[in-house]
Structures are given as structure tokens and as C-alpha cells.
């Protein structure tokens, strides 16, 4: 992995955002909408359930912020690829001395930046609007964020691989993929609230352990370490599998001339 190459690819992305500030709206608009909707739902439930609710329902706000970490990391990888398709720049990048590792490394950095910007802003707004301090998650916040970032990158690689394989018609996967798993990811409700079949899917997703963990920390300040270890282990498996899929699809794309077909769109 070459840091100069990664720096150049990330620089291109930063130029894109400074040149077109309207993109910042996309980066902030939807997270803000979710924060307002789930935040005021939380306020409403708190007022009407009081002590009857099993534990602090502010977890809904925490869930919005942490889900956005995963979503933005996934978007960082998938949109990075699509930006080159849309601007007909894809062949310039893939015919430049850029290795697959350099390319993926730069998408990870972009995902990290996107997640960092939105989650910081959401964290501040949730404190101002709802007195919810995401730092209540204490040091657990660090492994939570790392695990969600890694899973987001893995999902990003999977969605990009599918777009490469199926062509521009599959572009919508760049946005849809995280929402395919959201019902099983225990973002806004616990795993045991799901039917048994769905629970099996849920237990295969690293992020469900993170969202369960977040609720545990907000409820009684502790986290079962077993959940954190399981999430990290699953993430290693997902990241490796996504990497293998991405490299294999890229090889197929070179065999079948799929990259050049993107340029002809």
C-alpha cells in the first residue's frame, strides 16, 4: 500500500467536496432528518412512558449516530467508485499505477472522513437538542466505532463488487445495501425482539452485537466482552470475504472487459 497514492486519491475526493458544496447537504441532510425524527420520537416516548419503559430510551438517538458511522463508511467505498463512473474517469484511474490495495485504502480513508464528519455533527446536535451525550458510551465508543467502520467498509466492497459485476444498472446497491441488513442489525430494537429465523441472521452480523452492546452500556454501564469479541471476529471474516470478492470480481471484470464498458456508458 502506497501512502502517496492514497493521499492523491483522497485529495481528489476533497477537491470534489470543496468544489461542490452542495455535496455537503447530502452528507448532512439525511443524518439530520433521522436525528430529528428519532430524537423527537424519543422525547415523546419519554414523556408518555416515564418509568414504565424498561431502560433509557435515549438509545434511539445513540442508534442513529452509530448507524450513520456504518452507513457513511459503506458509502465512502461505494460512492468513491461511482464518482469515477459518473465523471468517465474510471479508466484513467484503473490505467494509472494504482494497486487494488491503494484503491481500497483510499476508499477506507474517505469512508472514515465521511463517518467522522457526520457523526461529530450528529453528536453535537444530539447534545444540544436532546441532552444526549454520545460520550456516555465511555471508552466503549472506540471499539464500537472501529467495528462499525470495518463492517461498513466490508459492505462497501461487497456493493462495489456487485456494481462492477452487474454494471451501472446496479448502482442503486450503493445506497440500498446497508438497508438490506438494517432489519436484522438490531439498530433500533433488541435481537430478541425478532422472530427466531431473523435472530439467526442477526447473530451473523457484527453490527448487531455493537447495537446490543450500546444499549447495554447505556442501560447499566457495562458491556459483555463476549459480544465485542464476537463482533470483531465476525468483522475479520466479513472484511476478508469482501476483499476476496472484490479482487475476484475485478479479475472477472478485466477478463470480460467490464471496466471498459463502464467508460462506454
Amino acid at each position: 500500500m502506497n501512502l502517496h497514492i492514497i493521499q492523491a486519491l483522497v485529495l481528489r475526493y476533497l477537491y470534489l467536496y470543496t468544489r461542490t458544496p452542495v455535496r455537503l447537504v447530502e452528507l448532512l441532510f439525511w443524518p439530520l432528518v433521522h436525528l430529528l425524527v428519532w430524537g423527537y420520537l424519543t422525547v415523546f416516548l419519554q414523556r408518555h412512558t416515564g418509568d414504565a419503559f424498561p431502560y433509557e430510551i435515549t438509545f434511539l438517538i445513540g442508534a442513529v449516530i452509530l448507524w450513520d458511522v456504518l452507513f457513511r463508511a459503506q458509502q465512502g467505498v461505494a460512492i468513491f467508485f461511482l464518482e469515477d463512473v459518473w465523471s468517465r474517469n474510471l479508466l484513467n484511474i484503473f490505467a494509472a499505477p494504482v494497486t487494488t490495495a491503494d484503491y481500497l485504502g483510499s476508499t477506507y480513508v474517505v469512508g472514515l472522513l465521511r463517518a467522522g464528519v457526520t457523526s461529530t455533527i450528529l453528536g453535537v446536535l444530539s447534545l444540544v437538542l436532546y441532552s444526549f451525550n454520545v460520550l456516555e458510551l465511555q471508552w466503549y465508543l472506540i471499539p464500537f466505532i472501529i467495528n462499525l467502520l470495518v463492517f461498513g467498509w466490508a459492505l462497501g466492497m461487497i456493493s462495489t463488487a456487485l456494481i462492477v459485476r452487474w454494471g451501472p444498472a446496479a448502482e442503486t446497491l450503493a445506497w440500498a445495501t446497508p438497508f438490506f441488513i438494517q432489519p436484522f442489525a438490531a439498530v433500533f430494537y433488541p435481537v430478541d425482539g425478532l422472530p427466531p429465523v431473523m435472530q439467526a441472521f442477526s447473530k451473523a452480523l457484527p453490527c448487531s452485537y455493537i447495537f446490543e452492546g450500546m444499549r447495554d452500556v447505556l442501560k447499566d454501564g457495562t458491556l459483555p466482552m463476549r459480544d465485542l469479541v464476537l463482533a470483531s471476529g465476525l468483522n475479520v471474516v466479513y472484511l476478508a470475504a469482501a476483499g476476496v470478492l472484490f479482487v475476484s470480481v475485478l479479475k472477472t471484470a478485466r477478463d470480460k472487459g467490464l471496466l471498459t464498458k463502464f467508460a462506454a456508458q
Binding site: 465523471s87 499505477p97 471498459t260
Partner: protein
């Protein structure tokens, strides 16, 4: 004879049952400009894409700077570049920003000075702070060429660099290409449908038809071989699949 920069041996590319490139072999010597000609669908762009590592050959071998492309792709790409009518640089970025990014990707030393040099060479220095997407077709093509020249490539692949240009700009591009060859000694592979381009720029020409090489030689040799008046007449005859019996396909 000068050393070979690019050597292509028995290159075949099949997409399913369709053979886009069939047993193509040729080489380009250092400092030479080789024209790759043929009608649409002849296989020229597929050959170029294989040289860039964008398409993997079904059979055969591509050797650049004495190294196998399949196993030394990144090292080779660092020393070459390309310009294609089928690609653009991101339209939202300024001209200077686009060249800055690609200069860093190719690790160009003294980048700011080099960017000014290539922009001046193509006579678009005044556009450095212009948004790339707001350039005219001619300016955009010259920007693509600037990107291709940034790293002083030893091997330059130019895929229809004068397509859709007016005669004045096409002339400027041809002059720039020749100047780069004279000053940097760059070796080039040049595809074009403009026979004037080819006659003016290329030392040698390969004629392709339906994925095969029909003939190769200097433009004058090609015209003589096909017993036509001009390269354009040869092109039309080959494109229409006319009397090819005088041509001896090279397998």
C-alpha cells in the same frame, strides 16, 4: 536497430464466442510512432485496453520495457500513459486540480512546474483555474493529453486523440505529439480515423480488420501494397470489406 519498447506476441481476446482480437503480433521500437488503423470494431481499442491492463488477454503475451505486463503491471504503468477520446477528467475539478491529482498518482517530480509546462505545450495555460467540465471539446481533449504527458511517458498510447476536433486544434495536437517525440524521445501507439493525422504523425502503420492484422509498413508501403491512391482509399476499401485478396493477412 533501436531497442523494442513494446512487444506483442500472438495476442488473442475472446468475449464468449466472439474473437475481438485474433493472433495479433507486433512491436514498437524506441522513439517510433506506430499507427494502429482500422474501422470501428477492428479491435484497436481492445488492443490498447489490453496494453493498459484494463482487459486481460485470452492468449498471448505483452512485453513492455522488456517486462511482462501481466506480472509487472504497476511498474510498467508508472512509465507509460494514455489519452483516449472515451475518457474524461472529473468535470467538477479545476484543470489545475485534476493535473495535480494525476501528477501525484504518477509521482511526477517538481509537479507545479511540470503542470505549467504541459499546459503551455498544449496552449491551454490560461485555463488552469477553469472548471474542467466547462471546457470546450477541443480544450477538454487537450487537457486529457496534458494528463497523458505529465509523467514524461516513455510509452504513450493515444486512442483517437483528434476525434471531434476542428482542423486547427487537430493540427495543434499533432504538432504537440511530434514535439514530445522529438524532445522526450517518447514511443507512441496512435489510433485515428483521420488519415491525415496518420500520414503526418506515424512512422509505421498497422492495418487491422475484424481483429486481425492485414498489413503493416510505412504509410507509403501500405498504399502501394493495396494498390490504392491514398491511405484513406485503403481505409475505405478495408472498412467495406472489399477486395482484400491483394492483402496478405499476417497470422
Amino acid at each position: 536497430m533501436s531497442e523494442s519498447v513494446l512487444r506483442v506476441a500472438d495476442l488473442v481476446k475472446r468475449f464468449g464466442d466472439f474473437a475481438a482480437v485474433r493472433n495479433v503480433s507486433f512491436e514498437i521500437r524506441k522513439g517510433e510512432i506506430l499507427g494502429l488503423l482500422g474501422a470501428n470494431g477492428a479491435g484497436k481499442t481492445t488492443v490498447i485496453n489490453m496494453m493498459l491492463g484494463l482487459i486481460t488477454p485470452s492468449e498471448g503475451r505483452i512485453e513492455v520495457f522488456g517486462q511482462d505486463l501481466a506480472s509487472h503491471r504497476i511498474e510498467i504503468l508508472r512509465r507509460m500513459n494514455f489519452c483516449s477520446t472515451y475518457t474524461q477528467l472529473p468535470g467538477n475539478l479545476l484543470v489545475g486540480q485534476n493535473l495535480n491529482v494525476f501528477g501525484k498518482l504518477y509521482r511526477v517530480p517538481d509537479l507545479d512546474r511540470r503542470i505549467d509546462e504541459v499546459l503551455d505545450l498544449l496552449e491551454i495555460g490560461h485555463l488552469k483555474k477553469r472548471v474542467s467540465g466547462h471546457l470546450s471539446a477541443g480544450e477538454s481533449t487537450r487537457l486529457n493529453l496534458c494528463k497523458a504527458l505529465l509523467n514524461r511517458p516513455e510509452l504513450l498510447l493515444l486512442d483517437e486523440p483528434t476525434a471531434s476536433l476542428d482542423p486547427d486544434i487537430a493540427d495543434k495536437v499533432r504538432k504537440a505529439v511530434k514535439r514530445v517525440r522529438e524532445e522526450d524521445g517518447a514511443t507512441m501507439l496512435y489510433t485515428s480515423h483521420n488519415m491525415r493525422d496518420v500520414e503526418e504523425v506515424c512512422d509505421r502503420v498497422i492495418f487491422m480488420h475484424k481483429g486481425k492484422i492485414l498489413h503493416q509498413g510505412t504509410p507509403a508501403e501500405i498504399v502501394s501494397h493495396f494498390q490504392e491512391k491514398s491511405l484513406e482509399d485503403v481505409f475505405i476499401r478495408v472498412a467495406r470489406g472489399g477486395e482484400l485478396e491483394t492483402a496478405k493477412p499476417i497470422d
